[in-house]
Amino acid sequence: MPEVARAEYLEELANLEASALGGLDLVNGALTRTLEAVEHQDIELAQLVVADDDRIDGRYLEVHQALITLLATQSPVATDLRLISALLHVLKNVERMGDQCVNVCKLIPLSGHEPPADEEMVRLILAMGRQTKTLIIQAKRAFEERDVDMAQDLVRQDDVVDNLNRDCFRLALEIGDDADKREWAMTMLLAARAIERTGDNAVDIGEQVAFVVTGLFREFEDASHPEV
């Protein structure tokens, strides 16, 4: 009997995990460029992010198909099955996070080359983005290390993003009577919302870490029953 049976299959599964989680690095790169585009109102960079989303979608399709093939040909069970199920969720979240960057970048041209930007609001959005990047890195590490505590901590980190998002909303309400500025603020609120959702996607990945480790799925936070 070989030292480790099914070595090729296990190597393939490990490679697919690395590829799926590598999608989070692509997202982090997209988010970095998105924030730069927001900060400098850089429409060309924003268009680049939109075009580059094909790479994230491609990663999704490629790894998703390979995981389906593994399911069909290798009959994975137990931890392997949970890992594959979790990776399919992770991929979906990666793809959604890429789309949220695209959503933000598509908003940038709407406010023109020299919008009546509010410095404080831009600062808040950039802070949200940086915190979300931290979340993405932490989600990836928690998955790689199968660390449920680190995954659970994503909720605390995401609260920071949520609070900044609420601050953005309050600032938009108090932005003043200037029609152009109000329109810009409304547009930026949509951008803030997209970044906030990206943070939620990172928390969802954390939930998958707990599923892989424990075999039980539970939402870290239940938006429909926040009191629980």
Binding site: A5, S75, A78
Partner: protein, 296 residues
Amino acid sequence: MLGAATKRKTAEERQGTMSDSSAVTATSTGPVTAAGRPAKTIEARGVNLFYGDFQAVEDVSITIEPNKVTALIGSSGCGKTTFLRSLNRMHELTPGASVKGEITLDGEDIYGAGVDPVAVRRLIGMVFQQPNPFPTMSIYDNVAAGFNLNAKKISKVQKDVAVERSLRGAHLWEEVKDRLDKPGGGLSGGQQQRLCIARAIAVEPEVLLMDEPCSALDPVATLAIEDLIGELKSRYTIVIVTHNMQQAARASDVTAFFNIEETGKPGRLVEAGPTEEIFTKPTKQETEDYVSGRFG
């Protein structure tokens, strides 16, 4: 057409109330599925099995629940087939073989003093790896063999009813009803195995033991047997030994994993639980390694 339909009236209909399973269902307090009858529970407590001085199975305790399919899985030599054969006292047929511990069928010790092993085997039927019909005997006689061997005196009509009911129960009736007098050996492998299942259920056992019943069959015949197992559990307690883990996953409700520490050591029960849990989140690493195909 009416005449033809009347002619095709089944033996069971002719017999009217011959089928007694509904009466059993109505009076029993045991578990019963919608279309089934209550089956019996097997309890094994501290079972140790030996071939002479060699201990093949060590200290197995498990409750085999009625109207469920329990799959015994594990690598070759882990004692699962030996354990299966102890459940209807076939283990002791091997010269030098012995049993320690207790096995009960609904509380009655099947190894108790004065218990006739033949009577135990009538209550707890067995289907083997290789389909083993009596090859020259007719299909009809293959199914009726149980009555003849048990010297059960029943009328021709009753026998007709039982043969048809058993062949229907084994999903074979439609394929063989026009050639019941042809030899059982002329059937395909899958049909032969269903014939053996029909023979086993003809004597109305409480439990069906199956020792790798599909290992000699092609995938289509295998799936047909698995479907049949799924239906039979509404009437019987079923224990199946299989090397095919996907079969255990597909066809069983409970999975019991046997293993040995090393060659020459006795097999032991590592873990038993709902099949769904054994294949998604087993509690023991040993089980995880086996069901995932990671050995060594």
